[in-house]
Structure formats: structure tokens, C-alpha cells
Assembly symmetry: D3
Homo-oligomer: 338 residues x 6
């Protein structure tokens, strides 16, 4: 079953130093375009759905480059507005071993996406063209106009009978001095509109200010997520716990909470080539499982395998097909396919 899935979010230009040099050592960059929304709908397009991005890009050579890149990713650009002047950017210097990677942002608040006027998007029209729409906490941190877009679009989708997905994705640096207190009412509003929510116990504790007696992460999760789901009328909640092992491999376990039940994936361990965007791969896996009516256990296993595979791919954007994720789930990948 193929669905029409839209995502609302900014397109960021990622400028990455090749190899392991710093910006001060190097003189060349590779660039791609990404963002949570891009990653989500591109991944779902690879799973057979039609993925639309709802965003605003400038009508200049950088905007053209972003549009071409999105089309290459099989993202439908028919709902993208053109206007404003700038594209948000970040520079990425790869770390190595004990030396951490570094991300440096340009001034994203002036971007076309963040400066798009209130009437940029037609909520009713968009809602009429999509079955599912995805929003995330990064956009929610931008400014009041962006928050207004989000709430009107989510409400319109809900009203038109579509499903709303919300990924909490709280980034402390984006909320500035306001912090959790500033964020809380906006998160509550989005949670109230959402059918599927990507979150874990930390979001409940810190953003929503909930409390629990439990001290272990997993127990906190088991305690808090059902409360959140109940309070906000959420059908499906899902998320991951991750850790980095001594040998630089990563481990990840996914959970899903649905119909009052938790299901957990196996804890997967894997070598990491590029970790950015793996959370979006997980969310895409959950959405795909829901669309396909996989069992909850199958959905969480599929999403965890999709997330693991996303760590092996360059760039932010997952590019595994459904067949490749299913194959990864069987754990019997051959060494060379020929």
C-alpha cells in the first residue's frame, strides 16, 4: 500500500570537509541538502510511497541546487514554495576516534524557510493532497511564524482525516535562554494534534516536566510513555536508546508503544560511517510499518534495522530500500554481492 506522505521542515545545506581534516587544514568541501523532513520523505519514497516536502527555498542558484538534489532523492517538490533569500547551512568537520566531530551553523534564522510569511502555505490544499504529515521539534524551535505554520498545517491534516506524526527532537541550543519553559506549551500543542509521536523518557521528563520514581532509563520509559500517550491521545509512540561502545561501534534498541503495549527491537550493534540522520531513518521505519500494518514487533524491528543501515551511508539521508532493510533484518548479509 502506497501512501502520500508529506513533511514540513527546513532544507539545510550540509558542507562537509572530506576525510578527517579541519576547516583550517582543508580547502575543499562536499555539499548535500538535508533536514529532518527531507530525510523522512526521501526514506519513505525509497519504501514505495510518494514523499512531498513542504518548505520554502530561495529562487537563486542555491535554491536550484537544493531543488535538484531533492528531486534526485525522489522527493516531490510540487508543494515547495520559492521565495526569500537564503538557505540554512552547516559545516561538518569529521572527528576521528577520541576527537569529536564539529558542526558550525550559519545564521539559519534568516533563511527562506524561517522568513516565509504567514500565508505561505495553504493548509487546506496541502491537507487534501496527503495522507500523513510529519513535523519535528527542530522547526518548532525556530520562531512564532514557523510555529504558526506547523499548528495550522497539523490541524488541517487532522481535520481532513490524515495522520499527524510529530518527532520531539528537542535541541537545547535552538531554544536559547527560554529553554524547556519556552518550549513546553508549543510541544503540548503539537502532541495534542499528533497521532504518532517520536520521543523517549527524557522528553517526558524535561520538556513536559513529568515525574517518575524510576531511575533506570528503561523503567522511566515504561512508566512515562503510557502517561503521555493517554494525556495527549497518541496512538503510537516510538523511539530509541543508543550507546557508543568502547570499540567505536554503536548499539541501538528501538521501542514502540501502541494499543497499550510496548514492543522492543533486539539491541543492534554496528560500525558507523555517518551517524547523522539515523534517527530519521528510525522514524521512517515506524511510519512505513504503520502504513503497511506490520505487527508492532515487526515495525520496531524494521525501524531499528533501517536506523542501523542509515549509519552505514554517507550523508544525512537514509537510502535503503524496503528489500535492503528486510535483508538486514535477517542478519545474513553476504560479504560481496555478485
Amino acid at each position: 500500500m502506497s501512501k502520500r506522505v508529506a513533511a514540513f521542515g527546513e532544507v539545510m545545506m550540509r558542507l562537509q570537509v572530506p576525510g578527517y581534516d579541519t576547516l583550517a587544514q582543508a580547502d575543499a568541501l562536499r555539499y548535500t541538502f538535508s533536514g529532518t523532513g527531507v530525510n523522512i520523505v526521501s526514506a519513505l519514497a525509497r519504501f514505495g510511497h510518494t514523499g512531498y516536502l513542504v518548505t520554502t527555498l530561495p529562487d537563486n542558484p542555491l535554491g536550484e541546487a537544493a531543488m535538484a538534489y531533492l528531486r534526485k532523492l525522489d522527493v516531490s517538490t510540487s508543494l515547495i514554495q520559492r521565495g526569500g533569500k537564503f538557505v540554512g547551512m552547516y559545516f561538518l568537520e569529521n572527528g576521528f576516534g577520541m576527537r569529536p566531530s564539529r558542526v558550525t551553523y550559519t545564521d539559519r534564522l534568516g533563511s527562506s524557510f524561517n522568513q516565509a510569511p504567514e500565508d505561505s502555505y495553504d493548509p487546506a490544499d496541502i491537507a487534501g493532497n496527503v495522507d500523513i504529515m510529519h513535523f519535528c521539534g527542530i522547526s518548532l524551535a525556530m520562531n512564532d511564524t514557523v510555529r504558526g505554520h506547523m499548528k495550522r498545517l497539523a490541524a488541517a491534516v487532522k481535520q481532513a482525516g490524515g495522520k499527524v506524526v510529530f518527532d520531539c527532537n528537542y535541541r537545547p541550543s535552538l531554544w536559547g535562554d527560554g529553554g524547556y519553559a519556552l518550549a513546553k506549551p508549543h510541544y503540548e500543542e503539537m502532541l495534542g494534534l499528533a497521532d504518532v509521536v517520536m520521543m523517549n523518557e527524557k522528553d517526558a521528563l524535561h520538556i513536559l516536566g513529568m515525574e517518575t520514581q524510576a531511575t533506570d532509563r528503561k523503567e522511566q520509559l515504561l512508566d512515562l510513555i503510557p502517561q503521555v500517550a493517554g494525556k495527549f491521545g497518541i496512538s503510537v509512540a516510538a523511539g530509541t536508546h543508543r550507546s557508543i561502545n568502547r570499540d567505536n561501534s554503536h548499539s541501538l534498541q528501538g521501542y514502540i508503544y501502541k494499543d497499550g503495549q510496548f514492543e522492543f527491537s533486539d539491541t543492534l550493534s554496528f560500525m558507523v560511517y555517518d551517524r547523522i540522520g539515523a534517527g530519521d531513518a528510525y522514524a521512517s521505519g515506524i511510519i512505513h510499518g504503520e502504513i503497511q500494518n506490520f505487527s508492532a514487533k515487526n515495525t520496531v524491528d524494521f525501524a531499528a534495522a533501517a536506523a542501523a543501515l542509515a549509519h552505514t551511508v554517507s550523508g544525512d539521508t537514509p537510502n535503503a530500500s524496503e528489500a535492503e532493510v528486510l535483508k538486514a533484518m535477517t542478519q545474513m548479509m553476504p560479504d560481496v554481492e555478485r
Copy 2:
């Protein structure tokens, strides 16, 4: 004779698509750091002077990269402030033949340079450390705070017995709706403080609103420049006339007006590899000639040769030594030096 020469201006990150692809076709960029001030003091360092840049750069990986790049160019960084958050940037796509090059800016008004607070620079201290200081019309277009820095610094240098160089460098796109009317008083103030001015007849006509009966460019120049010099008490005015030939070669003739006399260089024709920054090479040649007490004719010939050579070098920043410029002036460059 080696002098201490400072320039005030923004450091821009130049992100260039290699070869002749557009941003939409390519996936890699080369980056350097430049700006009028950078170009001027780097060129003068190659001529044997000590070149200081007065600017503000962020204390982050992009700022580090800019600092390292400036040191590589032999620009002294001891007068550079660190603060703010962003570096101004522009993307460059090379044209080919009849297809023009394209430049796309990011939001430079939010840069560390343009956001540096009023008391960022200590005019008296800077004036005490330099013999000559260079300013340009690009900085003058930024905002009132930057204009304030410029005027205070120029006044301090003048008061301390140093020389002030001002390059009119009017860029219509930077002055927005205000245009010439907005620019005029600020230009007049800077011209009043300047000893050496880079300009031509168009600046007199459009910025200063002067009039002439002459219709030919050269005649306009001969008519207007002495009036400007007289009105603002300018010792030396200099500039170029350029044209592009049918075979893609460029031609350039420099002029200097000093002690009531005009001198012109030969009209030089040359193949062009990278034209950005050639005007700054010309200005550097004029400054160097003045420092060395070259005759006016020698100065304008040296400056014209420096400008021509700058078209043959990648990047914005001229890198010919005095010996290489002198050799180019003799017009007898060997094919391969070995």
C-alpha cells in the same frame, strides 16, 4: 622602504564550484577567504610591507580557518578582534564564454564584522601602529555601526599623521533602495578624510552628483577628477578603465592624478583566469608606488601590471612579488622558467 599598512574590512568566505559546473550540477566546493582589505594588505606584504587587517571574526572553526588562511597570505592578525557568530560568504559559479559567472551571497549583515559593537576597535591604538590605512566603499554600504568604525578610524589615522586611502568601490546592490542619495554624505565624509582615493569619472557623476559637458569617458575623467581632488583635498586619485575584447581577453588602462597632473599607463591586454580582486591589485600597486616614491608614471605602470597579473591567479587575492610585477612590466616574460 617598508611601511606598516592596515586595511579595514570584512573577511568573506569564497565557496567556488571547481571547473564550470553549476551548483545544481556539482557536489564539491573549494574555499578561500578574501575581501578588499585582505587583498590590499596581502598584496602589500608580498611587496615587502607589513600588512595588518582590522576586522572581526568569530571564535569558531570558520573563524579559525579564516585566521589560518590570512596568516598563510602573510597578513598580520594582531589587530583582528574575535567575536560574534558568523562569517560572510559567497558562492561562485564560473561562467564559460557567453555564459556569465554567478555570485550568490549569504546573509552578510549578520556577520561578526557587521555586528561588531561600536567600541570594538581602539582607533588611537590602531592609528599609533600603522603608517597607512585603507578603507573601501563596500564596508561603507553595510550599516551605521560599520560606517562609524570607518570614520573614527580614518580620523584617528589622519590625526596621528598617517595616510588614509579610500577606494570608492560603489556596489549598487549593497545600498538597496537608498541608492546614491543614501551613499553620498558618507562618501563625502570619507573623501574629506582621504589622502589617496581610488575612483573614476562614474563615481564623480553618480555618487557625488557632479556634472560635465564631456561625453567621452576619458574626457569626463580629465574634467571631473581634478574638481574632486580640489574639493576634498585629495593628494592622489587613481583608477582604471577596462573593457572585454571579442576574443575573451581583457584590456585595462590605469590613470593617476597627482600634483595637478594626469599620467596613464599603456593599455594592457591579457588572458583572464580569475578576474575577482584585480582592482585591489591595482590599488596595492598605487600604494606601493607612493610608498617607494616612484614617479607618477612608474606608479601607474606598476599598478597596471600588478592588476594584469592578478587576472592570471586563482582566488581573489593578488600574489605577485615586486620582482614579478617589475618583470611583467618589461613585457618579455619567458614561456617556461627553468
Copy 3:
């Protein structure tokens, strides 16, 4: 006015040695995907139309790469079949000056496109979805099955009220020993179905075996094209005469014959970066002019400017927008746009 334009043709993988080395000297290649049909509909998409490619690509990593590349070019892939095993390829070594470029083909007859079975495409369905469909003589040279696809598709489009464009594009090496004799009946059949034909006097003389007293190329053209148009009921015929100048620049003049009248463009001269695909840019310009109801003179000027610009772009595929072509027509391109 935006139209739906389809093209039928093979997608070729172009593997190009960077710079001017030969395959024996180098160790790296750049690759893109192109073909006459790709070039036509991609160019028309840049002019604001919806461009569909009708072709067959394998369901393997090379096919995926081709699909992604086509989407990037804004070619709609919804009419592309997946099947077969191979992608046609050619290797390109750039010449320099008196040393010619070299093209080496792999075995394209085994490609998915050339092996696609007779019932691969649904002519009625395709005809119902497009306003204009483009075919070319390269495809016509492949094999009987491909020729069958072409004739059925062209007939269906015609029957559905759409327009058929046919580019003669005769390549001697593709017709082997059969040569013109083998080609003639197939060309006649396609000409009989076509509304718009890209050709010149050589096609009339050699393929169709027509005769003329004239010896000058232009006089031959003036004599023969009206006869061809009359015989096959062609509304519009168009083409170019090209020559290479001593300084390596190229010159090109376009013609159009419509409503019994010839119109010629100015003879344009320009520097060449990559000449492959420039003929397709010309054809796209003619089609766009026809769609927009430009005057015949405007159409031929637009097409000639589009062809000239295509020589300045890397890769086979033209990428100028309508605005860029119009700007080139005014002949007043600035040196650097900023």
C-alpha cells in the same frame, strides 16, 4: 503555456575522462546519463513544461543511478519501464586543439532499451498523457523491435491529437553495411507521421535520395526542404548549419521552414566547452517556440541562442532556463553577475 512533452529514446551512461588525458593515461572517470530524449525533455522542463521520458532501464544499481540522475534533471520518470539487464554506455576522451576527442561505445544493442519486448509500452496510454512526443533517428537505427515501438507510439500520439516531432539525426556508424538503403523506408515512415522535423539538406540528399541542381549548402536547403515538407505533410522543418573557426570557436546558424516561409537566425559565434547535446538544445528551442506561438523568426533565434548556450555547459544535457536564453539573445551578458 505549459505542455506535457514526452521523448522516446535510450538513456546512455557517459563515462568521461576528466581533463585532457586519455583512458590509457588516467585512472578516473566522471559519469552522467544522457541521450537525445533525455536532453530534449530536460531542456523543456527547464523552460517550464513537464517532460516525460519513455524508455526502459534495468532494475539494478546502474538503473537506480540513471533514475536518480533523470529526476535531478527534472525529467518525469513515471513512464519509464524497468527491466532487462544493461545500460548503454560510452567513454569520452576530450581532445585538445588539433587532437580530436574520442568516443568509445560499449555494446548498446544488449541494453534494456534495445532488448525491451514488443509490448513494453502502452501507446494509447502514453498518447493520452502527452501533448507532444519526440523521436529520433538514433533510436531508429537500433533494431526492428525499437523501430516498431517508435512507429506505434508516433501513430498513437498522432491519432490522439498530439504532435509528433522527429529528429533525423542520421549516424552512419549505427546503420552498418545497410546504410542509407536500409534506413530510407523507416525514415519515410517516421516523416509521414511527423508534424515537426529536425533535418537539413544532407538528410534530404542522402537518406531520402533527393536531387538538386544547387551546389551551395544553403541553396540546396532552400530547394529541398520545401519539397520534403510538401511530400510528407510536415508543418515545421528546422535545423542548423555549423562550422569550426580557426581560433577553435564555433559558428552556428539556425533555420526554420514554416507556412512556406524560411527564417534564419543570425550566425552566432562562441567558445565551446562541451559540444555534445547542442543539437538537442536547438530542437528544444524550436519545440518551445512552437508551444509558445513565438513568431518563426523568434523561434529560430531562441533555438539558436539555446544551442549556443548549450556549448558552454558541461555534460550532454542543456540546462539554461528560458530567462537565460532570452538574456543570451540580447547579447549583453555581463561579465560577472553579482
Copy 4:
């Protein structure tokens, strides 16, 4: 002791995406030329022998590039025929961690090697010029003409007093629907001509259809190989068992069966940079040990070390010298040699 060693086999062009991108993500390829025969004689040339390749390459720029590359590898090209039109090719996308590498072939059946006519090679002449000749199961899978070349050449070498080496190298995808049944008689014929055979228990079980009570791989080997050697009159049989460890390192143990005795190398574990061609390094080590009259134990240790080293080298083709292999056998490799 230096011998003249020939190998019969196809030269393949390997087109590899640099780094870890897929063909759909990347736009550049690196190319080399390889093949089992190439690898074998190039490795033996590095060990001090004269290595000839017997194959057919087209007389076009791709053939030239292949010839130049073979000479660079120190492969003698004096027995190579020029003719036909195509070079076999494969595209390689590197996997990372749990994401497998992918190989995509072009249509190799149309290659010059596979289309070379029956009388392309002069068996008596070739046999007169070589001491040892190597054949492999990949060539045996191609078509009847190629199989005819192999059998005639092997018979001629045997008759002229040279030694025949045969590497079973069964690739299921190459035998198509015919599978083991199609392959069996051809393998039996080649085994009957061979003095030295590269194989393991799986070849005996599946290709030759032999049976054993043993279930453990090593026991199967100990049971079956002596039977095969006896039945076909083979002097030396050798091969490896490999496994991939959890930390992505590989382990490999070699065996040799000679004069009724088995010898095994230590199980070597090592990090892997490029695993393609490591089996050919092992075969080369066995052949070199036999030429040099190493003890069987020394031969198998040398071959195993050569195979391990081949995993650390880019490209298919082993390039360790005898001294480097001997040094690796001592297990005391310094960190940096200076």
C-alpha cells in the same frame, strides 16, 4: 629459479565508486583492469618470474588502456591478441559494515575475449614458450569456444612438458540454469589435464557430486581431496577456508595436499581493505612455492601470508614482493618503516 608462467583469462575493467557512496549518490569512478589470470601472472612477476597473459583485447582506446595497465603490472603482453570490440566490465560499490558491497556486470559475453574465434591462439606456440599455465573456472563458464581454447591450450602445455594449474573457482551466477550439471563434464576434463588444482571440499561435493559421511568442513576436506587427487592424477591440491569475524576482521587458513600429505597454515586474522583478488594471491603463493621447491608447509604458509597481504591492497591485483611476503610470515611487521 625464475619460470615462464602464463595464464589464460579475460581482462575485466573494474569501475569502482570511490569511498562508500552508491552509484546513485556519486558522480565519479576509479578504474583498473584485472581478472584471475591478470592477478596470477602479475603476482608471479612480483615474485621474480615472467608472467604472460593469454587473452584477447579490442584495438580501441579501452584496449589500449588495458594494455598499458597490464604492462604497468609487469604482465608480458606479447601473447595477447587484439580483436573484437568490447572489454568486459563490472561496477563496484563499496559496502560499509553491515551494508554489503555490490557488483554490477555489463554484458561480458560480447567481449573480445568471449567472442575470439576458435583459431585465435596457437596452442603449440604458446606451450613452447611457457613452463606453467594457469586456467580457471570463471573462463570455463563462458561459452563453448572459450572452453575449447582452454582444453586445447592445457593439452598442448601438458604435451610440451609444462605444468597445468587449474583453479575451480565455481561461480553459480555464471552457469545459469545449467548449474552443476552443465559444469561437471567440463570441470572433469580440466581436472584430468591439471597438475596443480585450487579447490576445496565444496567443489568436490557440488561440482563433482562426490559424497562423504563427514559433516565438518575440515573433515570433508580430509576425506574428499585425496579422492579427487587420486581420481584425476593431481600432484598438488590447495585451497583456503575463510571466515568473517564479529569485528569485521577476516580469518583464513590455507591447506595443501601433496604426496599424500596435508599441511595447513596457521589461521591468520587481519583487517581487510579490499578483499577481491585475495584467492588469486593464495594461488600465486602456491605456484611460487612449487617453483621454488619450498617444503609443503613453507608453501602453504607463504601462500596464506600472500593472501592475507592481498586484503590490505587496493584493487584486485596482489602486489607484494617475495620479500614482503616473507616479512609478513615472520609476524613482526614494524609500525612505520623509516
Copy 5:
């Protein structure tokens, strides 16, 4: 507290094959400029001191490139002489896993540094401008003129009240047939002038010919270093013990001996990107700790962390800031900093 630190030593051009190819496989190189002295003063500049290099470079394009690179590293070039004709060079081929890296030198004895005449440097002038000066055993191996420079400079610094640092850094290949016997008197002379010495027990045993009953490396160290310090009047001795683990990670423990006491760092284990220059990072850490009056334990921990970080950076030259080393010491590096 910021000090003026000079180092005496040669600038080497490092020409490295990218990736893991050999010189025979590749066709491109990356180059940087380094050397023990370069590494020391560049690292100290990153820690906030002023770093001067005392060396000689030719006045040609290679010398210019070296000068620019040193400035980029924030090395002050005001004490560098220009003269002679050549720059010392070495080629580096990266090993992989069990395949070792290879270093190939050009003829460094003819370099500008090694041919600089006796009166090249003005010891008194240099001593008057620096607080600390670093020398190393590599320079000591060059020739008598270089040894003369070292001894005169060290004596002058000592006399002017500055501190002398000497790194034993014995390289057998540089001393040729003379070996330890040739080296000993020169080492003894430098040790007699030094305040801070980088060495370990092997230097005492082999260069100085001392003896100990202990057989364990650490016990030898505890026995011999106090004797060396006593004999030569050394205030601070420091060094490292390193080992390579089975999983290719490295382990390193630093020691410092000061005021009759030993302090040891933790044994740090870490993944290695580029190991060349890590010993210089350690020495820089010791010098910085001494300047800042860190406790001996803090100094050795800081130096060990600096050394570990240096293994994660491309090129020979450490580039961690003090803040980055302090952060590494806390062992709590985040995965991605954003």
C-alpha cells in the same frame, strides 16, 4: 602566562600518497611541511605562546610554499634564514593493517638547512628574543656544521637565562656506520646544556652506554633516569612508553621525572589516524605544563592527552588547543558537537 619559545630544526616537505595506494599504483600526492621543531612551536602556538622556528629555507617556490605553510600553522618566521637550494623531503605511503607504512627520503644532506654556513644564525640575538629553545637528536645527526649551530645556540640561550629543551630522538638510520659511538659525545654535550630532556631508558642504555640490573622497561626507567638527571644536571626528564594492541589501537603512558620524583600518566588507548608527530605533541605538552607551573602529575597527564589527540589528526603537526586537550583529559568527549 605566554612565553616566547623557539625551536631549531629542519623543515621537511612531506609528500603523502592519499588513501592506501603505493607510489607505483597512484599518481597524486598531498604535501605539507613539518619537522620536529615545526611541530613543537606550532603546538605551543596553539597553547597560546609565541613560537619561532630557527631554520634555513631556500628562496624559491618550494621555500615560499614552506614559509606560507609555517605561517598558516602560526609559526613565527621572523628568525628563519633564506638561502641554499633545496628542501628536505620524504614520501609517505600509508600501510593498512598488517601492511606497514613506508617512508622514502630524498637527499636531505644537501638541503638549505644542512648546508647553511657556520655564521648563519646569530646566537646572542636569538637568545635575547626567546625564553625557551628546543633542540632534537635528529638535527644532531646531520653534520658537524649543524651540530655547531646547536651547541652555540643552546649555550647562548642558557647564558641569557633561557631554558634549553633537548629531545634525544635517536634515529639509527641517520647516524650510519658511526652509530652510538659517533653520537655519544654530541648527546652528552647537549644533555649538559639542557634543562628539560625528552628521553627514556633506551637512550640511557644505548646512547649513553649506561647499565642496569633491571630487565623490565619501567624498572630500567626508574633506575636510569635519576642517574642521567643527576649526572647532567637536568631539571625535568620526560618520555613515553607505547605499544600497539591487537585491534590496531595504540596505548601510551607518559612519565615525568622532576625534583627527584616520578609521575606517570594513565595508560591511554586510542584509535590512530596518523601517528607521525605524536611524540612532539607529548614534548609540547610537557613544555606547556612547565611554563604554566602545572603540578608534575597534571603536566604528564596533559602531555599524554595531547599526544593521544595528535594521533587523530592528519599531518605531522599537532593542532589541538589547550581547551581541547583539557577536554580530552576529562574523557567525556561527546559524539558530535552541535
Copy 6:
């Protein structure tokens, strides 16, 4: 008719900055191996002869790389000695337009070739294996040992009935203070041994100190060359006159003097990609013409076309086949060959 042609000369490593950056701006190099002897025998191998290089290379990774590169060029390495420690090198920075290219040498006098002991080569053995042997004035400038090799080898070839070719190739920078006076006797000795000589009127005037009344270059040539040929018993003298045109194209005219007659080629004008090595292409053309018994006019035309083509090829070494040179002679090269 295929001949065995040897050349005696040094193999130089050419390290070239890609594009048009200087060494101070760039951080990467491309490398190849060349030299007059390499160029000559490689070009003749492309014309169908067997080309041997007589030289000495070190037995280290640089020597291996040179050997592999020579084999790739189809140079037979069987007469190459291995020994010594260093390879001669030069760095090349490309100029652009009025900015000249720059060549910087490393210390080539210490190279394996220049340090090879007197008995390195076996003149009688080499003379027995070759039909023609080429020497050049660059080697003659090195040192007495190299001059000794040259004279013994040339004498042995002559005695064995082979032909000696000598290219005057006088490079002022290599003869140092000695200049023409130092060179003259050695040149006279080589001219006395030579059958074919590459030279022009300047060599006669400056090296041999001859005099003429003529002032025009061509008249000087017509006057002096017959005298030289007579005096030294030279069968064939040949050379070129070159000039650089205002549009950066080059013009070249070849001459040959044989049997008392001069023949001149047409003056060819062409665009230049890489001019180094074009003189060697001319010499190769002369040698090939002589081997094939072309008429003198045909030989000089072939050589001139070969030289012109060599300007269009990257690297020092010509790579045109005989067919490609013949095609270039017809002046009708197509634009793209497909």
C-alpha cells in the same frame, strides 16, 4: 620495419601542481616520470619499434614507481640498472597567460643515474642488442662519469654497426660557470660519434663557436649546418624553429639536412596544452622517418606533425601513434570521433 632503439638518460620525477595554483597556494601534486630518453623511446614504441632505456634507478618505492610508469609507457626496462638512492625530481607550477610557468629542481646530481659508477653499463652487451641509440646534451652536462658512460656507449654502438643519435639540447643552467667553454669539447666528441644530430644554428654559433655573416636565423641555419655536418661526418641534421603568437598559439617549422639538401616542413600553428617534451617528439619523428626510409620531406613533415601533436598531450611524453600522426598531417581532423 621495426627496430630496436635505446636511449641513455635520466628518469626524472615530475611533480606538477594541478590547475594554475602555485606551490604556496596548493596542497596536492600529480606525478609522472619522464626525461628525454624516456620520451624518445616511448614515442618510438608507439610507432611500432622496441624502445629500451639505459639508465639507473634506486631499488626503493620511488624506483618501483618509476619502473611501473616506464612499463606503462611501453618502455622496455631490461637494460635498466638498479642502485643508488635517489631519483631526480622537478616541480612544475603552470603559468597562465602572461604569468610564466615555473620549474624547481631538487638536487639531481645525487641521483642514482648521476652517481652510477663507471662500470654500471656493459657497452658491448648493450650495443649488441640495439640498432640505434639516442643521447642528449642534458646528460652531457651532468658530470664526468656520466660523460664517460655516454662516450663509451656511443663508441660501442658505432663499432657494432648501429646508429648514434645525438640531441644537442644545451641548457645553460646545467653547465654553470663553465658554460660553453666547458661544454665544447664534450659536444665535439659526441658530434664526432653521431650519425643523426638534433640541433639548430644557435648550437653551432654558441657551443661550437662558429661564425657566419648571416643575421637572419634561417640564413644562419643554411650557412652553418652544412659546415657542421661536413666537419663531424653527420648524415642527418634536423631541428625546429618555434615562436609564440599573440593569441598564445605556437608556431613551429622543422628542418632536415640530409645528403647535402635541406627540406622544411610547413609552419604549423596550434593551441598548446603542455609544451614540455615536444622537442623529443620531433626527434622521434625524425628517427622514425629515417628507419622507415621516408623521403626527407616526408620525414620532416611527419616529425613536425608529431611535435605539434605532442603539445596537446598532458605530461612530457608524446603518445601519438603513427596513424594519429599521419592523420594530423592531412590537416583534416574531425571534431569528435564517434
